[in-house]
Symmetry: D2
Amino acid sequence: MLTDAQHQEIAAARAAEARTRRPTVPALEALLFQPVPVLDHGFLRVIDYMGDDAAIVQAARVSYGAGTKATNEDRGLIRYLMRHRHSTPFEMCEIKYHVKLPIFVARQWIRHRTANVNEYSARYSILDREFYVPAPEHLAAQSASNRQGRGAVLEGAEAAEVLDLLRQDAARNYDHYAAMLNEDAEGNPVDPARQGLARELARMNLTLNTYTQWYWKTDLHNLLGFLSLRADAHAQYEIRVYAEAMLETVRAWVPHAFEAFRDYRMGAVTLSAQMLAVVRRMLAGEAVPAAGSGLSKREWRELMAMLGCDESGSALPGGASPGAESAGAR
Amino acid sequence: MLTDAQHQEIAAARAAEARTRRPTVPALEALLFQPVPVLDHGFLRVIDYMGDDAAIVQAARVSYGAGTKATNEDRGLIRYLMRHRHSTPFEMCEIKYHVKLPIFVARQWIRHRTANVNEYSARYSILDREFYVPAPEHLAAQSASNRQGRGAVLEGAEAAEVLDLLRQDAARNYDHYAAMLNEDAEGNPVDPARQGLARELARMNLTLNTYTQWYWKTDLHNLLGFLSLRADAHAQYEIRVYAEAMLETVRAWVPHAFEAFRDYRMGAVTLSAQMLAVVRRMLAGEAVPAAGSGLSKREWRELMAMLGCDESGSALPGGASPGAESAGAR
Amino acid sequence: MLTDAQHQEIAAARAAEARTRRPTVPALEALLFQPVPVLDHGFLRVIDYMGDDAAIVQAARVSYGAGTKATNEDRGLIRYLMRHRHSTPFEMCEIKYHVKLPIFVARQWIRHRTANVNEYSARYSILDREFYVPAPEHLAAQSASNRQGRGAVLEGAEAAEVLDLLRQDAARNYDHYAAMLNEDAEGNPVDPARQGLARELARMNLTLNTYTQWYWKTDLHNLLGFLSLRADAHAQYEIRVYAEAMLETVRAWVPHAFEAFRDYRMGAVTLSAQMLAVVRRMLAGEAVPAAGSGLSKREWRELMAMLGCDESGSALPGGASPGAESAGAR
Amino acid sequence: MLTDAQHQEIAAARAAEARTRRPTVPALEALLFQPVPVLDHGFLRVIDYMGDDAAIVQAARVSYGAGTKATNEDRGLIRYLMRHRHSTPFEMCEIKYHVKLPIFVARQWIRHRTANVNEYSARYSILDREFYVPAPEHLAAQSASNRQGRGAVLEGAEAAEVLDLLRQDAARNYDHYAAMLNEDAEGNPVDPARQGLARELARMNLTLNTYTQWYWKTDLHNLLGFLSLRADAHAQYEIRVYAEAMLETVRAWVPHAFEAFRDYRMGAVTLSAQMLAVVRRMLAGEAVPAAGSGLSKREWRELMAMLGCDESGSALPGGASPGAESAGAR
């Protein structure tokens, strides 16, 4: 994952300290620069940050003026802002990560446009010989019911063959990439009789599970938007593990904002106008049949799962509903 | 609002037609260029557009591939996209408005950053002598309960005085602006003995209810984000009327997207993790007291209003709940 | 590149016409929907557009008011706007492309964030068996002098071996991808005894020269920013050919803006404060030595090339300078 | 400008220090929180920052890889990045300001969309009784030659009248605003018989020179874009003074980036393709007449001013050209 030289560089960076007048968060300082391992060769580490829970409150108070002083504690104001989607104060905090991740994950991630990115460039430099191969327990079959989902884990010979193919193809393609480049570590030709293919061309032979890395910087509002999609149960496992590692950094950094996000975004559900009408009728004691609900079958199932009811609309005992885990999922 | 020359220009533009291979929406073509009056001197008109409901579907199908052909009708797919917040296909439609609006409304509006804007510049040109004065029925007192809200309508002498002040101050300040400029309609000095103040300085004497105008262009996704905030009951009346006029243009332009937006965004409600837990307990037959709900008083009131219940948690008869009008409000 | 069914769909779309009140550009209508071949299996086609040269002028005139009527022709105003980097009026035009391109090109392209994108998703669907293999004349060696550049074309046995590796590795990896998926064209298992790997996982075995496709929509200002970087001599050949195809669509669409872009952006050069000082001294008749110029060696060489001088600062005869081709390059 | 309580708050914030592992810039720490007076009642102060010159280099090195280690000093790399408009590494630094500014200046400023803003809201709170009135030496007449520019300073009676009007109108309108609100400092009615106009309405009576304030946060790349337009000689004086105060904070924060910005952006000039052709002919010894240059009269004048030549194309003695001050102006 990291070379010895890199580990020493990180240790040196962690040992150095300076005095600052800026808002400082000791719990995040403790994590600073430290790589959190993700997947088989990836990592995520916080490189820098700006602001804290108090910076959110400070910005909200300039917007809403003296009035917000009545809200006499920061936690309450942050929860109010989150609940009512007053998003601009959350933009006043900024964080920068260094991430090592497979290219196919990077391709999903980069779709979040409101961020600053510097990626390792294979036009200029040579990528490391590292590729993601799923652990056997994550080698999932295609879901039969859900086009973008995963089904049961592959087993036996099929699993073994798939893992072999992934490993062999990535390794062979990397080796051919290196051979086409014809460069040693100092940039000199390995075989002086060959010219060496341009890096910007040779890279096309690499597989999508090759690792890349980047610096990625965003504000807290956009980070929470990223996390609400990517730390969600419907996100692909390979990006979700990065999002979950980031969630822990948010918890250390801005604990009030984190808690409000969990309550009002991650754990929240949205009811359509038609769903709300069904809930009102149920609360008024009516036995609403799926057929007359105005909802599609799929929406009906989703609603009943949210409400902890079985498909006939009866509350399941103990609150342990079959849909409990999907509350808030998107 | 518009000069005779402008009315003639609009009539000429509406009379001209061309042939195109692009997706075309007859219902929106019928509205094209036609100013919709808003407030006392403002208007809104559609100047151009790109795409239609089918363009949303087309983009979704390139993303989700052949699979989406199973979703055998466009309306269903658009509703699915809206419900699951797959926002990028809605970005494939674009619309451009010409708007005349008071400066204090423009200042709220411009906070929506993902749009293209060309505003009439008072550095270069002289603003018209037009200012917004509320109709008496919109002359609201400050809300006692809600810091950003309006209370009852002002009455009697106080109302009359306020209207007089607004009218007189705007008119006097405009007249002084014109006097400081010392320019006639051809740009020649009115009083040759005076130099005339620079336009970029003289404008600072104008009041915030002076009308300005701009071209404003955005994609459908960002437009719906704008409308979900500004066509909402909590938006200031003076911007809400513009948003409502825009909603009608969306209805004509992309009827399926409009309907999905109404059901899944405007008419939808979001329940926090704690609110959802309360609803589940109520549906299981429990009489949940506000005190033990885990909700703040304000959240409890909001939840009961959403659910059509009184503050003790009992369903109100007839579904005609006190909170009905606030469903979907933010 | 395109299936017969797709060709028929395009022909049908091109045959259909409607009447519109919107600004219409016959020269661009003539190109609409028609795929322009790019690279070995890629293409680019215009799907929709909004606005024209007159729309730029219209927006500028609302900004700069009556004053701009003095600029009595559109071409002059557009050139003025381009020259003085008044960019907002160019944002009032919008265009949408459908592009088929290799993944490694898509990864460069997506770095331009101010655009709307819907990409074919390999989570949901199966990619086509198409990959980019350079034509022999584009199989360049790594530049010795320029880390990101290309040197001479590979020759003989080395070229043949590289092409073989690229072809074989892409084909083998695709075939393994298909085998791991275990799906036929109808989505049924090829081998009923196997489960089939999830699409979102299997795709990681593909090489970076596999073709993907997307809808990409942006405004004219951001498009020109893209083209100034990607239609430039320093851009990688494989993205430059797309940019050059787009330039031709811009020429058809907004001829005045295109011409101004060519003169004031593509063909323009920027002189630093220090470079400008050198030029002034040279024009005053001074023989400025590189050493005393305040420029680095590299900047000196760049400046002399721009100016059509040799490295001693003497004008080259006939204006045919060695650096002529790099004017405007970045 | 600031109340005593605010001055004490700032002194307390400046006195507090913490230890951090983050990159820290002592020269900017020294300025932190300290208000820099701008115009008659405005100010600008740095509230927080992230990154330094080394953070730009760090991001560039992840992009351009080991290769950039050859560039063995940070200053050279930063200059290279600025010269070649590699903008993304500059996005890795972030800064947050607290600004008090007249509303008409805020309206120009907010057009820069790539920033995070929280403005004092006159919907929620009551604005201070402060308005900008130009110092006599900035009370400029309208430029006769340049529609957006300023001419000579107003003099004598006209100046006195203008200043009186600006002062009286702003003060009267503010007093009427306060009277319509009918609120004392505690929010209680001044006259219990009146209801008080809603704040969101009363504000429309204020003039555009009333002061507002905001928190404004952006990255270094976008900040430099702002400064290249607003610290320029063509910017309106009242925003330029803010930009100049910001330039000083940039100089303290990232001295290498500042220097590169000054040389390659602020002090640089752009030559169109046609202008470059003229310069080449002049350097080859040709006496190029304006008429045969392919430039418009205005472009010819601009070029000659840039080059330190008179309008016939002859170099002016001593390098003290009439156009020297406009180099780099846009």
